[in-house]
Subunit: 109 residues, 2 copies
DNA sequence: CTAACATTATATTGTAAGATAATATGTCTG
DNA sequence: CAGACATATTATCTTACAATATAATGTTAG
């Protein structure tokens, strides 16, 4: 249980604004899947296209969103552009989401 | 680092769909703040109105979203209706968000 | 220059946000 | 139990934003 007692409402709004900025980006099935794949390995667009079965332009548009919002970083290597998750907080969020929504035992004890 | 190796793409899409359903609800500043408050204590609409300075109809609309999506539960007591977070996964997510976006030390060591 | 890889531009559609007004629900009093 | 008030929800409308698909353009290697 978060203890937010030390934050006043304005500070809370500011932090909430930061958080919702990221959450909006995650709240999209294709983008979330992209990030999941990229949390495992650095991948180029054609890798992602194969793994997730999304057409290149759509893919590239969503990758563009991730780039502009600073959630991924890129590296060019010849014809290929490699993507990776570029934000530790996002990595941590993905980890939590994985535990909550992908682990078989949802965990009482 | 999540290990999703045991999930095929269809399973992943299904889980991602569940997760994005919740993320969409969280990705709204007022709603996120409401959930933060409710993660600390059970509160009625007028409490929330005071604490967050949101007008009643707007507030009630957002609470309606939270109810329909199953993120909160309610309890009537006389004139007041008390809200609380009604989903453990949401509570866990709020906790993580708090650590990442509200803790002073964002944590290298 | 051509082929492969990737991004950007554009247009359409759909969905969410936000404000205001109207309605419901419950309590208390006379 | 009617009437008035406080609390809360729902309906409606307008605006703005995000999603999706297609077409066009850029970039690099051979």
């Amino acid at each position: 249980m978060p203890d937010t007692a030390h934050l006043d409402i304005n500070q809370m709004r500011e932090r909430a604004g930061e958080a919702t900025g990221v959450l909006r980006v995650l709240a999209h099935e294709d983008r979330l899947l992209l990030l999941c794949q990229l949390s495992q390995a650095e991948l180029c667009v054609s890798d992602l296209e194969q793994q997730l079965d999304i057409r290149q332009p759509s893919l590239s548009q969503q990758l563009g969103v991730l780039r502009r919002e600073g959630l991924v970083a890129t590296r060019r290597e010849g014809k290929h552009i490699y993507y990776r998750v570029g934000d530790d907080r996002v990595l941590a969020l993905l980890q939590t989401l994985y535990e909550l929504y992908c682990q078989p035992h949802e965990g009482t004890s």
